[in-house]
Amino acid sequence: MKSYVLITGATGGLGKAFAVECASRGWPLYLTDLRPEPLELLAGALHRTYGVPVRWRACDLTDAGQRTALCEALRSEQARFGGLINVAGGDHEGLFCEQTSAQLRSIVRLNIEATIEMTHALLRLRDASETFRIVNVASLAAFYPMPYKATYAASKRFLLDFSLALRQELAGQGVTVTALCPAGLPTTPACIAAIEAQGVMGQLTTQNTGAAAAGTLDAALAGKAVYIPGLLNRLLRALGGLVPPTVVAWFIGRRWGAARRDLGNPAESSILVPEASPA
Protein backbone atom coordinates (compact mmCIF):
# COMPACT_ATOMS: atom_id res chain seq x y z
CA MET A 1 0.00 0.00 0.00
CA LYS A 2 1.69 3.22 -1.18
CA SER A 3 -1.16 5.63 -0.54
CA TYR A 4 -3.06 6.46 2.64
CA VAL A 5 -5.52 4.12 4.27
CA LEU A 6 -8.31 5.99 6.04
CA ILE A 7 -9.63 4.42 9.23
CA THR A 8 -12.80 5.69 10.88
CA GLY A 9 -13.36 4.95 14.57
CA ALA A 10 -9.58 4.68 14.73
CA THR A 11 -9.18 5.17 18.48
CA GLY A 12 -11.71 2.52 19.55
CA GLY A 13 -10.68 -1.03 20.39
CA LEU A 14 -10.98 -2.50 16.92
CA GLY A 15 -9.96 0.73 15.18
CA LYS A 16 -6.67 0.82 17.09
CA ALA A 17 -6.03 -2.82 16.20
CA PHE A 18 -6.51 -1.94 12.51
CA ALA A 19 -4.33 1.15 12.79
CA VAL A 20 -1.47 -0.76 14.43
CA GLU A 21 -1.77 -3.65 11.99
CA CYS A 22 -1.69 -1.31 8.96
CA ALA A 23 1.25 0.65 10.37
CA SER A 24 3.17 -2.56 11.10
CA ARG A 25 2.74 -3.41 7.40
CA GLY A 26 4.23 -0.04 6.51
CA TRP A 27 1.02 1.55 5.20
CA PRO A 28 0.55 5.34 5.44
CA LEU A 29 -2.43 6.18 7.64
CA TYR A 30 -5.16 8.76 7.89
CA LEU A 31 -7.04 8.38 11.16
CA THR A 32 -10.33 9.85 12.25
CA ASP A 33 -12.51 9.58 15.34
CA LEU A 34 -14.47 11.82 17.66
CA ARG A 35 -11.79 13.28 19.93
CA PRO A 36 -8.49 14.88 18.94
CA GLU A 37 -6.39 13.92 22.04
CA PRO A 38 -6.36 10.14 21.55
CA LEU A 39 -5.89 10.59 17.79
CA GLU A 40 -2.81 12.68 18.38
CA LEU A 41 -1.33 10.17 20.86
CA LEU A 42 -2.00 7.19 18.60
CA ALA A 43 -0.70 8.94 15.48
CA GLY A 44 2.50 9.99 17.25
CA ALA A 45 3.21 6.51 18.63
CA LEU A 46 2.50 4.76 15.32
CA HIS A 47 4.72 7.16 13.44
CA ARG A 48 7.70 6.74 15.74
CA THR A 49 7.28 2.97 16.16
CA TYR A 50 6.71 2.02 12.54
CA GLY A 51 8.08 5.02 10.66
CA VAL A 52 4.96 5.49 8.52
CA PRO A 53 3.33 8.87 7.83
CA VAL A 54 0.22 9.24 9.99
CA ARG A 55 -2.26 12.06 9.55
CA TRP A 56 -5.41 12.54 11.58
CA ARG A 57 -8.50 14.71 11.89
CA ALA A 58 -11.25 14.61 14.48
CA CYS A 59 -14.82 14.35 13.21
CA ASP A 60 -18.23 13.45 14.59
CA LEU A 61 -19.40 11.13 11.83
CA THR A 62 -23.02 11.27 13.00
CA ASP A 63 -23.04 14.93 11.99
CA ALA A 64 -23.58 15.48 8.26
CA GLY A 65 -21.95 18.91 8.37
CA GLN A 66 -18.80 17.57 10.01
CA ARG A 67 -18.66 14.69 7.52
CA THR A 68 -18.74 17.15 4.66
CA ALA A 69 -16.03 19.23 6.29
CA LEU A 70 -13.85 16.14 6.72
CA CYS A 71 -14.23 15.18 3.06
CA GLU A 72 -13.48 18.78 2.03
CA ALA A 73 -10.31 18.69 4.11
CA LEU A 74 -9.22 15.40 2.55
CA ARG A 75 -9.69 16.91 -0.90
CA SER A 76 -7.83 20.11 -0.12
CA GLU A 77 -4.95 18.22 1.53
CA GLN A 78 -4.62 16.37 -1.77
CA ALA A 79 -4.03 13.07 -0.02
CA ARG A 80 -4.41 10.02 -2.27
CA PHE A 81 -5.98 6.91 -0.83
CA GLY A 82 -5.34 3.22 -1.30
CA GLY A 83 -7.92 2.00 1.17
CA LEU A 84 -10.75 2.73 3.57
CA ILE A 85 -11.63 0.87 6.74
CA ASN A 86 -15.05 1.85 8.05
CA VAL A 87 -14.85 0.88 11.70
CA ALA A 88 -16.96 3.61 13.32
CA GLY A 89 -20.25 2.16 14.40
CA GLY A 90 -22.18 1.55 17.53
CA ASP A 91 -25.30 0.67 19.40
CA HIS A 92 -27.21 2.00 22.39
CA GLU A 93 -27.98 -0.47 25.12
CA GLY A 94 -31.62 -0.98 25.85
CA LEU A 95 -34.85 -2.39 24.56
CA PHE A 96 -36.26 -0.78 21.42
CA CYS A 97 -39.03 1.02 23.29
CA GLU A 98 -36.58 2.29 25.91
CA GLN A 99 -34.30 3.91 23.34
CA THR A 100 -34.90 7.54 22.43
CA SER A 101 -35.51 8.46 18.83
CA ALA A 102 -32.27 10.47 18.91
CA GLN A 103 -30.39 7.31 19.89
CA LEU A 104 -32.00 5.27 17.14
CA ARG A 105 -31.21 7.99 14.62
CA SER A 106 -27.56 8.09 15.72
CA ILE A 107 -27.23 4.33 15.10
CA VAL A 108 -28.47 4.76 11.55
CA ARG A 109 -26.37 7.86 10.94
CA LEU A 110 -23.15 6.34 12.18
CA ASN A 111 -23.46 2.76 10.97
CA ILE A 112 -25.15 3.45 7.63
CA GLU A 113 -24.97 7.07 6.47
CA ALA A 114 -21.36 7.65 7.47
CA THR A 115 -20.20 4.45 5.81
CA ILE A 116 -21.96 5.24 2.54
CA GLU A 117 -20.67 8.79 2.44
CA MET A 118 -17.07 8.00 3.35
CA THR A 119 -17.01 5.23 0.78
CA HIS A 120 -18.43 7.52 -1.88
CA ALA A 121 -15.99 10.33 -1.08
CA LEU A 122 -12.89 8.15 -0.83
CA LEU A 123 -13.52 6.38 -4.13
CA ARG A 124 -13.09 9.81 -5.74
CA LEU A 125 -9.82 10.36 -3.95
CA ARG A 126 -8.35 6.97 -4.71
CA ASP A 127 -4.90 6.43 -6.07
CA ALA A 128 -5.68 4.87 -9.44
CA SER A 129 -2.28 3.21 -9.60
CA GLU A 130 -3.12 0.62 -6.95
CA THR A 131 -6.03 -1.60 -6.03
CA PHE A 132 -8.36 0.22 -3.66
CA ARG A 133 -9.30 -1.86 -0.58
CA ILE A 134 -12.52 -1.20 1.28
CA VAL A 135 -13.27 -2.93 4.56
CA ASN A 136 -16.66 -2.44 6.18
CA VAL A 137 -17.00 -3.60 9.75
CA ALA A 138 -20.33 -5.37 9.95
CA SER A 139 -20.92 -8.03 12.59
CA LEU A 140 -22.09 -11.61 12.91
CA ALA A 141 -25.30 -9.82 13.84
CA ALA A 142 -25.58 -8.98 10.14
CA PHE A 143 -26.67 -12.54 9.44
CA TYR A 144 -29.49 -12.72 11.98
CA PRO A 145 -32.54 -10.81 13.08
CA MET A 146 -31.63 -9.97 16.66
CA PRO A 147 -34.16 -9.24 19.38
CA TYR A 148 -32.77 -6.66 21.88
CA LYS A 149 -30.52 -5.32 19.14
CA ALA A 150 -33.02 -4.96 16.33
CA THR A 151 -31.83 -1.65 14.87
CA TYR A 152 -28.15 -2.40 15.33
CA ALA A 153 -28.34 -5.85 13.74
CA ALA A 154 -30.41 -4.55 10.83
CA SER A 155 -27.91 -1.73 10.25
CA LYS A 156 -25.17 -4.33 10.08
CA ARG A 157 -27.26 -6.32 7.62
CA PHE A 158 -27.34 -3.21 5.51
CA LEU A 159 -23.54 -2.98 5.59
CA LEU A 160 -23.19 -6.61 4.60
CA ASP A 161 -25.52 -6.35 1.61
CA PHE A 162 -24.11 -2.97 0.62
CA SER A 163 -20.58 -4.42 0.66
CA LEU A 164 -21.50 -7.49 -1.36
CA ALA A 165 -23.34 -5.44 -3.98
CA LEU A 166 -20.68 -2.75 -4.27
CA ARG A 167 -17.98 -5.39 -4.56
CA GLN A 168 -19.76 -6.77 -7.60
CA GLU A 169 -20.46 -3.37 -9.09
CA LEU A 170 -16.80 -2.32 -8.82
CA ALA A 171 -15.27 -5.65 -9.78
CA GLY A 172 -12.86 -5.10 -12.65
CA GLN A 173 -12.23 -1.49 -11.63
CA GLY A 174 -9.44 -2.28 -9.21
CA VAL A 175 -11.62 -2.07 -6.11
CA THR A 176 -12.26 -4.80 -3.56
CA VAL A 177 -14.86 -4.66 -0.80
CA THR A 178 -14.68 -6.93 2.25
CA ALA A 179 -17.25 -7.15 5.02
CA LEU A 180 -15.84 -8.08 8.42
CA CYS A 181 -18.37 -10.01 10.48
CA PRO A 182 -16.95 -10.67 13.95
CA ALA A 183 -18.64 -12.19 16.94
CA GLY A 184 -18.30 -10.19 20.15
CA LEU A 185 -14.91 -8.53 20.47
CA PRO A 186 -13.48 -7.85 23.94
CA THR A 187 -12.99 -4.12 23.39
CA THR A 188 -14.69 -2.39 26.30
CA PRO A 189 -15.58 -3.42 29.86
CA ALA A 190 -19.24 -3.60 28.75
CA CYS A 191 -18.37 -5.90 25.83
CA ILE A 192 -16.19 -8.07 28.05
CA ALA A 193 -18.95 -8.33 30.66
CA ALA A 194 -21.38 -9.40 27.94
CA ILE A 195 -18.95 -12.04 26.65
CA GLU A 196 -18.34 -13.40 30.11
CA ALA A 197 -22.07 -13.51 30.84
CA GLN A 198 -22.34 -16.01 27.98
CA GLY A 199 -20.02 -18.39 29.81
CA VAL A 200 -17.99 -20.98 27.93
CA MET A 201 -19.70 -20.14 24.66
CA GLY A 202 -18.62 -16.51 25.01
CA GLN A 203 -15.02 -17.58 25.59
CA LEU A 204 -14.99 -19.93 22.62
CA THR A 205 -16.51 -17.54 20.11
CA THR A 206 -14.41 -14.54 21.12
CA GLN A 207 -11.43 -13.50 19.04
CA ASN A 208 -8.82 -10.97 20.05
CA THR A 209 -8.96 -7.72 18.11
CA GLY A 210 -5.36 -8.03 16.91
CA ALA A 211 -5.99 -11.37 15.27
CA ALA A 212 -9.26 -10.11 13.79
CA ALA A 213 -7.56 -7.05 12.28
CA ALA A 214 -4.67 -9.03 10.80
CA GLY A 215 -7.00 -11.67 9.38
CA THR A 216 -9.26 -9.01 7.88
CA LEU A 217 -6.40 -7.27 6.07
CA ASP A 218 -5.24 -10.60 4.66
CA ALA A 219 -8.80 -11.27 3.50
CA ALA A 220 -9.07 -7.78 1.96
CA LEU A 221 -5.78 -8.19 0.09
CA ALA A 222 -7.09 -11.50 -1.24
CA GLY A 223 -10.28 -9.75 -2.38
CA LYS A 224 -12.54 -11.85 -0.12
CA ALA A 225 -16.18 -10.77 0.16
CA VAL A 226 -16.78 -11.70 3.79
CA TYR A 227 -14.42 -12.42 6.65
CA ILE A 228 -15.57 -14.05 9.87
CA PRO A 229 -12.78 -14.35 12.48
CA GLY A 230 -12.65 -17.71 14.24
CA LEU A 231 -13.27 -21.22 12.99
CA LEU A 232 -16.10 -21.88 15.41
CA ASN A 233 -17.82 -18.65 14.38
CA ARG A 234 -17.59 -19.64 10.72
CA LEU A 235 -19.12 -22.98 11.60
CA LEU A 236 -21.92 -21.43 13.65
CA ARG A 237 -22.65 -19.04 10.82
CA ALA A 238 -22.86 -21.92 8.37
CA LEU A 239 -25.26 -23.79 10.65
CA GLY A 240 -27.26 -20.63 11.31
CA GLY A 241 -27.79 -20.28 7.57
CA LEU A 242 -29.71 -23.55 7.53
CA VAL A 243 -32.30 -22.44 10.06
CA PRO A 244 -35.29 -20.20 9.20
CA PRO A 245 -34.80 -16.57 10.39
CA THR A 246 -37.83 -16.68 12.70
CA VAL A 247 -36.36 -19.66 14.54
CA VAL A 248 -32.98 -17.92 14.79
CA ALA A 249 -34.68 -14.83 16.25
CA TRP A 250 -36.51 -17.00 18.81
CA PHE A 251 -33.30 -18.77 19.80
CA ILE A 252 -31.24 -15.59 20.13
CA GLY A 253 -34.03 -13.93 22.08
CA ARG A 254 -33.97 -16.78 24.59
CA ARG A 255 -30.20 -16.83 25.05
CA TRP A 256 -29.87 -13.10 25.20
CA GLY A 257 -32.79 -12.72 27.55
CA ALA A 258 -30.94 -15.02 29.98
CA ALA A 259 -27.60 -13.27 29.50
CA ARG A 260 -29.25 -9.88 30.06
CA ARG A 261 -30.75 -11.05 33.33
CA ASP A 262 -27.29 -12.28 34.45
CA LEU A 263 -25.86 -8.86 33.73
CA GLY A 264 -28.46 -7.21 35.95
CA ASN A 265 -30.23 -5.50 33.06
CA PRO A 266 -27.69 -3.28 31.34
CA ALA A 267 -30.68 -1.53 29.75
CA GLU A 268 -30.56 0.78 32.75
CA SER A 269 -27.44 2.39 31.40
CA SER A 270 -27.50 4.12 28.09
CA ILE A 271 -23.95 4.29 26.87
CA LEU A 272 -23.13 4.18 23.21
CA VAL A 273 -21.50 0.78 23.07
CA PRO A 274 -18.78 0.91 20.46
CA GLU A 275 -18.32 -1.56 17.67
CA ALA A 276 -19.03 -5.22 17.86
CA SER A 277 -21.44 -6.09 20.57
CA PRO A 278 -21.71 -9.81 21.05
CA ALA A 279 -23.72 -11.51 18.39
Binding site: A19, A23, L41, L42, G210, A211
Partner: protein, 296 residues
Protein backbone atom coordinates in the same frame (compact mmCIF):
# COMPACT_ATOMS: atom_id res chain seq x y z
CA UNK B 1 17.02 2.97 64.12
CA UNK B 2 19.12 4.65 61.45
CA UNK B 3 20.02 2.43 58.50
CA UNK B 4 21.69 2.92 55.16
CA UNK B 5 18.30 3.87 53.78
CA UNK B 6 17.41 6.59 56.26
CA UNK B 7 16.97 9.89 54.45
CA UNK B 8 17.23 8.30 50.98
CA UNK B 9 14.69 9.36 48.37
CA UNK B 10 13.15 6.45 46.50
CA UNK B 11 10.48 6.32 43.80
CA UNK B 12 8.33 3.17 43.78
CA UNK B 13 5.79 2.55 41.03
CA UNK B 14 2.71 0.46 41.79
CA UNK B 15 2.96 1.39 45.46
CA UNK B 16 -0.79 1.14 46.12
CA UNK B 17 -0.98 -2.64 46.40
CA UNK B 18 0.93 -5.89 46.87
CA UNK B 19 4.72 -5.92 46.68
CA UNK B 20 5.05 -2.20 45.90
CA UNK B 21 2.97 -1.14 48.90
CA UNK B 22 4.86 -3.51 51.22
CA UNK B 23 8.18 -2.15 49.93
CA UNK B 24 7.00 1.44 50.45
CA UNK B 25 5.90 0.59 53.99
CA UNK B 26 9.19 -0.99 55.00
CA UNK B 27 11.24 1.81 53.42
CA UNK B 28 9.14 4.38 55.26
CA UNK B 29 9.67 2.55 58.54
CA UNK B 30 13.40 2.73 57.88
CA UNK B 31 13.18 6.47 57.36
CA UNK B 32 13.46 6.65 53.59
CA UNK B 33 11.50 9.33 51.80
CA UNK B 34 9.19 7.40 49.50
CA UNK B 35 7.55 8.83 46.40
CA UNK B 36 4.89 6.29 45.49
CA UNK B 37 3.16 6.03 42.13
CA UNK B 38 -0.30 4.58 41.52
CA UNK B 39 -3.01 4.84 38.89
CA UNK B 40 -5.96 5.65 41.12
CA UNK B 41 -6.22 8.93 43.03
CA UNK B 42 -8.20 7.29 45.83
CA UNK B 43 -5.80 4.38 46.32
CA UNK B 44 -2.83 6.75 46.20
CA UNK B 45 -4.33 8.90 48.93
CA UNK B 46 -5.10 5.85 51.08
CA UNK B 47 -1.55 4.51 50.66
CA UNK B 48 -0.04 7.88 51.45
CA UNK B 49 -2.03 8.09 54.68
CA UNK B 50 -0.94 4.58 55.59
CA UNK B 51 2.72 5.42 55.11
CA UNK B 52 2.43 8.73 56.94
CA UNK B 53 0.92 6.91 59.92
CA UNK B 54 3.94 4.56 60.02
CA UNK B 55 6.50 7.35 60.10
CA UNK B 56 5.36 10.95 59.58
CA UNK B 57 8.95 12.22 59.64
CA UNK B 58 9.65 10.31 56.42
CA UNK B 59 7.22 12.62 54.60
CA UNK B 60 5.89 10.10 52.06
CA UNK B 61 4.33 11.49 48.88
CA UNK B 62 2.32 10.01 46.03
CA UNK B 63 1.83 10.82 42.35
CA UNK B 64 -0.99 9.47 40.22
CA UNK B 65 -0.20 8.33 36.67
CA UNK B 66 -1.44 5.68 34.28
CA UNK B 67 1.85 4.03 33.37
CA UNK B 68 0.25 2.38 30.35
CA UNK B 69 0.70 5.71 28.56
CA UNK B 70 4.05 7.20 27.64
CA UNK B 71 2.53 10.65 27.77
CA UNK B 72 1.66 9.95 31.42
CA UNK B 73 5.12 8.54 32.20
CA UNK B 74 6.65 11.75 30.89
CA UNK B 75 4.22 13.90 32.87
CA UNK B 76 4.95 11.82 35.97
CA UNK B 77 8.69 12.35 35.58
CA UNK B 78 8.09 16.10 35.45
CA UNK B 79 5.99 15.90 38.62
CA UNK B 80 8.74 13.96 40.41
CA UNK B 81 11.33 16.51 39.30
CA UNK B 82 9.12 19.23 40.72
CA UNK B 83 8.65 17.40 44.04
CA UNK B 84 12.38 16.89 44.44
CA UNK B 85 13.28 20.43 43.47
CA UNK B 86 10.89 21.74 46.12
CA UNK B 87 12.67 19.72 48.82
CA UNK B 88 16.27 20.62 48.21
CA UNK B 89 19.05 19.39 45.94
CA UNK B 90 17.36 17.43 43.19
CA UNK B 91 18.74 13.90 43.38
CA UNK B 92 17.17 10.47 43.54
CA UNK B 93 18.76 7.52 45.35
CA UNK B 94 16.53 4.76 44.07
CA UNK B 95 13.88 3.85 41.50
CA UNK B 96 11.79 0.71 41.87
CA UNK B 97 9.98 -0.18 38.65
CA UNK B 98 7.42 -2.43 40.29
CA UNK B 99 4.01 -1.60 38.75
CA UNK B 100 2.76 -4.56 36.81
CA UNK B 101 -0.44 -5.88 35.35
CA UNK B 102 -1.95 -9.01 33.87
CA UNK B 103 -4.54 -8.66 31.11
CA UNK B 104 -6.43 -11.69 29.89
CA UNK B 105 -7.90 -10.19 26.70
CA UNK B 106 -5.69 -8.26 24.31
CA UNK B 107 -6.12 -4.57 25.11
CA UNK B 108 -4.28 -1.84 23.25
CA UNK B 109 -3.47 1.41 25.02
CA UNK B 110 -4.52 4.77 23.57
CA UNK B 111 -1.03 4.86 22.06
CA UNK B 112 -1.58 1.51 20.37
CA UNK B 113 0.67 -0.70 22.54
CA UNK B 114 -0.37 -4.00 24.09
CA UNK B 115 -1.17 -3.09 27.70
CA UNK B 116 1.19 -5.51 29.48
CA UNK B 117 4.01 -4.56 27.11
CA UNK B 118 3.32 -0.91 27.92
CA UNK B 119 2.97 -1.18 31.71
CA UNK B 120 5.37 -4.00 32.57
CA UNK B 121 8.11 -3.21 30.10
CA UNK B 122 7.97 0.13 28.22
CA UNK B 123 7.08 2.14 31.33
CA UNK B 124 10.21 0.98 33.24
CA UNK B 125 12.29 1.65 30.13
CA UNK B 126 10.96 5.18 29.67
CA UNK B 127 10.70 6.17 33.34
CA UNK B 128 14.32 5.09 33.87
CA UNK B 129 15.37 7.27 30.95
CA UNK B 130 13.39 10.22 32.26
CA UNK B 131 14.72 9.94 35.82
CA UNK B 132 18.30 9.06 34.98
CA UNK B 133 19.66 12.62 35.34
CA UNK B 134 18.22 12.71 38.89
CA UNK B 135 19.65 9.28 39.70
CA UNK B 136 23.02 10.25 38.30
CA UNK B 137 22.98 13.34 40.54
CA UNK B 138 23.01 11.14 43.68
CA UNK B 139 26.32 9.88 45.10
CA UNK B 140 25.20 6.32 44.31
CA UNK B 141 21.84 5.19 42.98
CA UNK B 142 19.96 1.94 42.42
CA UNK B 143 17.36 0.97 39.83
CA UNK B 144 15.35 -2.16 40.64
CA UNK B 145 12.96 -3.52 38.01
CA UNK B 146 10.62 -6.22 39.26
CA UNK B 147 10.76 -9.17 36.89
CA UNK B 148 9.63 -12.74 37.51
CA UNK B 149 10.86 -16.30 37.29
CA UNK B 150 8.09 -16.85 34.74
CA UNK B 151 10.38 -15.10 32.22
CA UNK B 152 12.09 -18.47 31.81
CA UNK B 153 9.06 -20.01 30.10
CA UNK B 154 9.38 -18.00 26.92
CA UNK B 155 11.60 -16.26 24.39
CA UNK B 156 10.97 -12.99 22.55
CA UNK B 157 8.80 -13.37 19.43
CA UNK B 158 10.47 -10.73 17.34
CA UNK B 159 8.04 -10.95 14.44
CA UNK B 160 5.14 -9.98 16.69
CA UNK B 161 6.74 -8.88 19.91
CA UNK B 162 3.51 -7.63 21.49
CA UNK B 163 1.71 -10.85 20.43
CA UNK B 164 -1.03 -8.82 18.81
CA UNK B 165 -1.80 -11.44 16.20
CA UNK B 166 -1.62 -14.47 18.46
CA UNK B 167 -2.34 -13.09 21.84
CA UNK B 168 -2.10 -15.18 24.94
CA UNK B 169 -2.23 -13.23 28.19
CA UNK B 170 0.21 -15.40 30.12
CA UNK B 171 2.73 -15.63 27.30
CA UNK B 172 2.57 -11.86 26.84
CA UNK B 173 3.15 -11.40 30.57
CA UNK B 174 6.17 -13.72 30.53
CA UNK B 175 7.66 -11.87 27.57
CA UNK B 176 7.46 -8.55 29.42
CA UNK B 177 9.30 -10.07 32.37
CA UNK B 178 12.00 -11.44 30.06
CA UNK B 179 12.27 -8.01 28.43
CA UNK B 180 12.73 -6.47 31.90
CA UNK B 181 15.85 -8.59 32.46
CA UNK B 182 17.30 -7.91 29.01
CA UNK B 183 16.67 -4.21 29.56
CA UNK B 184 18.44 -4.29 32.93
CA UNK B 185 21.49 -6.07 31.48
CA UNK B 186 21.81 -3.62 28.61
CA UNK B 187 21.18 -0.67 30.95
CA UNK B 188 24.08 -1.75 33.16
CA UNK B 189 26.31 -2.09 30.13
CA UNK B 190 25.49 1.48 29.10
CA UNK B 191 25.69 2.87 32.65
CA UNK B 192 29.23 1.55 33.07
CA UNK B 193 30.42 4.15 30.60
CA UNK B 194 28.10 7.00 31.52
CA UNK B 195 27.24 6.77 35.21
CA UNK B 196 29.10 3.94 36.91
CA UNK B 197 27.71 4.93 40.31
CA UNK B 198 24.19 4.03 39.14
CA UNK B 199 23.45 0.32 39.12
CA UNK B 200 20.45 -1.64 37.87
CA UNK B 201 18.97 -4.91 39.12
CA UNK B 202 16.16 -7.18 37.93
CA UNK B 203 14.39 -8.79 40.88
CA UNK B 204 12.30 -11.94 41.05
CA UNK B 205 10.05 -11.54 44.10
CA UNK B 206 9.07 -15.22 44.09
CA UNK B 207 5.43 -16.29 44.18
CA UNK B 208 3.70 -13.62 46.26
CA UNK B 209 0.25 -13.41 47.81
CA UNK B 210 -1.14 -10.36 45.92
CA UNK B 211 -4.29 -9.70 43.84
CA UNK B 212 -2.41 -9.17 40.55
CA UNK B 213 -4.28 -11.93 38.68
CA UNK B 214 -7.65 -10.82 39.94
CA UNK B 215 -8.02 -7.31 38.54
CA UNK B 216 -10.54 -7.32 35.70
CA UNK B 217 -9.84 -10.93 34.73
CA UNK B 218 -12.48 -13.61 34.00
CA UNK B 219 -13.83 -15.57 36.97
CA UNK B 220 -11.92 -18.72 36.10
CA UNK B 221 -8.62 -16.82 35.99
CA UNK B 222 -9.45 -15.24 39.34
CA UNK B 223 -10.14 -18.66 40.81
CA UNK B 224 -6.88 -20.09 39.47
CA UNK B 225 -4.87 -17.12 40.76
CA UNK B 226 -6.51 -17.43 44.20
CA UNK B 227 -5.14 -21.01 44.40
CA UNK B 228 -1.69 -19.78 43.33
CA UNK B 229 -1.53 -16.83 45.70
CA UNK B 230 -2.62 -18.97 48.63
CA UNK B 231 0.75 -20.71 48.19
CA UNK B 232 2.66 -17.41 47.89
CA UNK B 233 4.87 -15.62 50.39
CA UNK B 234 3.56 -12.45 52.09
CA UNK B 235 4.32 -9.19 50.21
CA UNK B 236 6.42 -7.98 53.16
CA UNK B 237 8.80 -10.90 52.61
CA UNK B 238 9.09 -10.12 48.88
CA UNK B 239 9.74 -6.49 49.80
CA UNK B 240 12.81 -7.51 51.81
CA UNK B 241 14.44 -8.85 48.68
CA UNK B 242 13.88 -5.57 46.83
CA UNK B 243 15.07 -3.46 49.74
CA UNK B 244 18.26 -5.51 49.97
CA UNK B 245 19.09 -4.38 46.43
CA UNK B 246 18.47 -0.71 47.29
CA UNK B 247 20.83 -0.88 50.24
CA UNK B 248 24.31 0.24 49.35
CA UNK B 249 25.57 -2.32 51.85
CA UNK B 250 25.00 -4.87 49.10
CA UNK B 251 27.68 -4.57 46.45
CA UNK B 252 26.52 -5.08 42.88
CA UNK B 253 28.48 -7.75 41.03
CA UNK B 254 29.51 -7.08 37.49
CA UNK B 255 27.54 -9.21 35.04
CA UNK B 256 24.94 -10.21 37.59
CA UNK B 257 21.57 -8.69 36.80
CA UNK B 258 18.98 -11.09 38.19
CA UNK B 259 18.31 -11.47 41.89
CA UNK B 260 15.88 -13.27 44.18
CA UNK B 261 15.51 -12.48 47.88
CA UNK B 262 18.74 -10.49 47.75
CA UNK B 263 20.76 -13.32 46.20
CA UNK B 264 22.11 -13.36 42.62
CA UNK B 265 20.60 -16.00 40.32
CA UNK B 266 21.04 -17.24 36.79
CA UNK B 267 18.18 -16.11 34.59
CA UNK B 268 17.18 -18.19 31.55
CA UNK B 269 19.53 -18.53 28.61
CA UNK B 270 17.31 -16.16 26.57
CA UNK B 271 17.66 -13.54 29.30
CA UNK B 272 21.45 -13.63 28.95
CA UNK B 273 21.52 -13.06 25.20
CA UNK B 274 23.49 -9.82 24.77
CA UNK B 275 22.60 -9.44 21.11
CA UNK B 276 18.89 -9.73 21.93
CA UNK B 277 19.32 -7.14 24.68
CA UNK B 278 20.81 -4.67 22.20
CA UNK B 279 18.16 -5.34 19.61
CA UNK B 280 15.41 -4.90 22.20
CA UNK B 281 16.99 -1.64 23.36
CA UNK B 282 16.96 -0.21 19.84
CA UNK B 283 13.34 -1.27 19.35
CA UNK B 284 12.31 0.23 22.68
CA UNK B 285 14.00 3.53 21.86
CA UNK B 286 11.95 3.67 18.70
CA UNK B 287 8.74 2.83 20.56
CA UNK B 288 9.41 5.44 23.25
CA UNK B 289 11.03 8.11 21.08
CA UNK B 290 14.14 8.20 23.27
CA UNK B 291 16.57 7.89 20.36
CA UNK B 292 18.35 11.09 21.33
CA UNK B 293 18.41 10.32 25.03
CA UNK B 294 21.39 10.30 27.37
CA UNK B 295 21.80 6.52 27.06
CA UNK B 296 21.76 6.32 23.27
Amino acid sequence: MATNLTGKTIVITGATSGIGLATAEELTRRGAHVIGVGRSVGRCRAAEERLAALNPAARPAFCTADLALQSEVRRLAGEIRGLLAARGPAALDGLVNNAGTFTYWLALTTEGFETQWAVNYLAPFLLTHELLPLLAAAPTARIVTVSSESHAHTSLRWADIQLRRRYNGLLAYQQTKLADILFTAELNRRLRGQAPHVHAFAADPGLVDTPIGQKGTPELVQWVWQRRRDAGIPPAKAAQGIIALLDEGLAPRPDTVYWRHGQPRQPSRQAQDAAAAQRLWALSEQMCGTNNGSLS
